[in-house]
Amino acid sequence: MTEILWHGRGGQGAFTAARLLGAAYVAESDGFYALAFPSFGPERRGAPIRAFTKLSDSPVGDRSQVVRADYSIYLDDTLFTDAAFDELKENGKIILNTRRKVDDERVITLDGTAIAQEILHMPITNTIMLGAFAAVSGIVSAGAVEQAIQENMPEKLQIRNIAAVNAAIREVAG
């Protein structure tokens, strides 16, 4: 099972990214299963939130929160501290939206906010970080992410978010 931990602030769309990833993964094969859920509780704009995606080739029975992740994804670098490494499995990776450079081979950085400003005209990076995950992990294809966006996001948001995903994939690959 691959476990993904999403970190964001209320309003940044971390749970939407967690859900899109699950939808993209199960679209890849009839034998693929996923769970996606947020940290449950009152929703407050700006407050730190977590979301979780579990991907597996068999039904997922464990509905508890991810404690140690294969991928820990930060939509907001103000949430990223040294404690982030305690939440990783061995060989786990962090994907961080930041302008900074982080000198640690476990951390992949990209300036997702710049991509967001350019393509979405707003600093929302959830689908960009999903694209970055697709590129880093190879677990879901760009096509599956695109399909998940088409099936699960409001129509007026789809074209720009698909463009943002592809820009993030090029950024990470480049």
């Binding site: 996606a36 947020p38 449950f40 039904p59 029975g61 508890s64």
Partner: protein, 388 residues
């Protein structure tokens, strides 16, 4: 069928759409709200033709559903926690009146302390209200219970309201892959609701009347008999369901690797998924353990429990419920089933998941370990204050 990635609430709403209720009475409460929101969208976009009535309370929600049922309409409502308790007065009206209403309940803790998270103390406190009570493990089963629920409840010999329970948040708000049946499949499975137990100008009759000491016991015996009929109707309904949808359910319980198990854990609801995985892990290490999942609490699966436990050394019940001053109510019922079957084995009761507390795989492994050491009595799981 169409494969979709849905939450438990959304999946249940899809099931309700396919069941075509003619009246929906809605009053929102977390974590049920998404169900009635989705249904209101379906009515608005025309994909569900139904009277959507936004009532002023849960008491009114069930009263409204009863009114609809009493003129022969298929009725739906949904609630949770304090909302269920607030409509408690109406629950016995609906069951005593033999109105086959479907109600979805999002299992949530009851105050005080105030808490919006999942446990099963709300519905279990109302086991004696005369309703069928089913508990879903995942979003697929939740959707399927909406269709099965109406089929079972509306059978003439049953004519009893049906409460489909989904664990709050861990099931209602968790997204997973769900096969959504087609309209044609659903219509082939579930016939339109037909009943003689309705107000009809052509055939005037009195419904919802009083019955004094002379006849009251006869009414209650018939109500009891109606609930007992559910066992065979569930079996028939699930075979019919499997023929159309390709998914076979297993009656009032689901046995998993219990045949040769030395130790059995009995539980219900969404935690069964983790217990099943833990059973597999322990079996891989040579431990003979099994899971018995109670899919229904009413009618209570006495025979199924006795049959699963016939050759086991010890048994535990894990439930998100406590009857203060005694023990978990599911445990009380399970021990009664064993006793009636003459099965005298050590038993233990684990009360966990209260107010949404996480139950971990380690907790479940510990229960099986305790059982193998002769554990008995009542134990709370998750009493530490650590963050989940």
């Amino acid at each position: 069928m169409a494969k979709k990635f849905l939450s438990g609430d959304e999946a249940f709403a899809e099931g309700v759409r396919l069941a075509r209720p003619q009246v929906i009475s809605a009053y929102p409460i977390t974590p049920q709200t998404i169900v009635v929101e989705k249904l209101s969208e379906m009515v608005e976009d025309g994909s569900l033709k139904s009277e959507f009535i936004h009532v002023e309370s849960e008491h009114s929600a069930l009263s409204c559903a009863m009114g609809a049922s009493s003129v022969g309409a298929r009725a739906f409502t949904a609630t949770s926690s304090q909302g269920l308790l607030y409509m408690a007065e109406c629950l016995t009206y609906a069951s005593g009146g033999r109105f086959p209403i479907l109600m979805m309940n999002a299992n949530r803790s009851t105050a005080l302390p105030w808490n919006i998270y999942g446990d099963q103390r709300d519905s279990i406190s109302l086991l004696d209200s005369g309703w069928i009570q089913a508990y879903a493990e995942n979003a697929q089963e939740a959707l399927d219970l909406a269709l099965l629920g109406y089929y079972i409840a509306e059978k003439k010999e049953v004519s009893t309201p049906y409460m489909a329970n989904l664990d709050g948040f861990v099931l209602t708000h968790t997204y997973e892959v769900v096969d959504v049946p087609t309209r044609e499949q659903a219509d082939a499975f579930l016939p339109p609701f037909e009943t003689d137990n309705r107000l009809d100008l052509e055939h005037p009759r009195n419904l919802g009347f009083s019955a004094g000491p002379d006849y009251n016991t006869q009414f209650k015996m018939k109500e009891h008999a109606g609930l007992l009929k559910v066992r065979e109707v569930v079996a028939e309904a699930e075979d019919r369901f499997a023929a159309i949808f390709g998914r076979q359910y297993t009656g009032l319980t689901e046995s998993y690797r219990t045949e040769d198990a030395d130790y059995i854990l009995v539980t219900l609801g969404s935690i069964a998924g983790l217990v099943r995985e833990t059973v597999d892990a322990l079996r891989a290490n040579g431990k003979k353990v099994g899971l018995l999942r109670l899919r229904y609490l009413r009618p209570f699966p006495n025979q199924e429990i006795a049959s699963a436990a016939a050759n086991t050394k010890a048994l535990a019940v894990l439930e998100k419920d406590i009857s203060f001053g005694n023990e978990g109510t599911v445990y009380t019922n399970v021990v009664s089933a064993l006793h009636k079957a003459g099965i005298a084995i050590p038993t233990a009761n684990y009360v966990g998941g209260l107010g949404g507390k996480n139950i971990s795989a380690e907790d479940i492994r510990q229960i099986f370990e305790d059982l193998s050491q002769g554990q008995q009595g009542l134990h709370f799981v998750g009493t530490g204050g650590e963050a989940d």
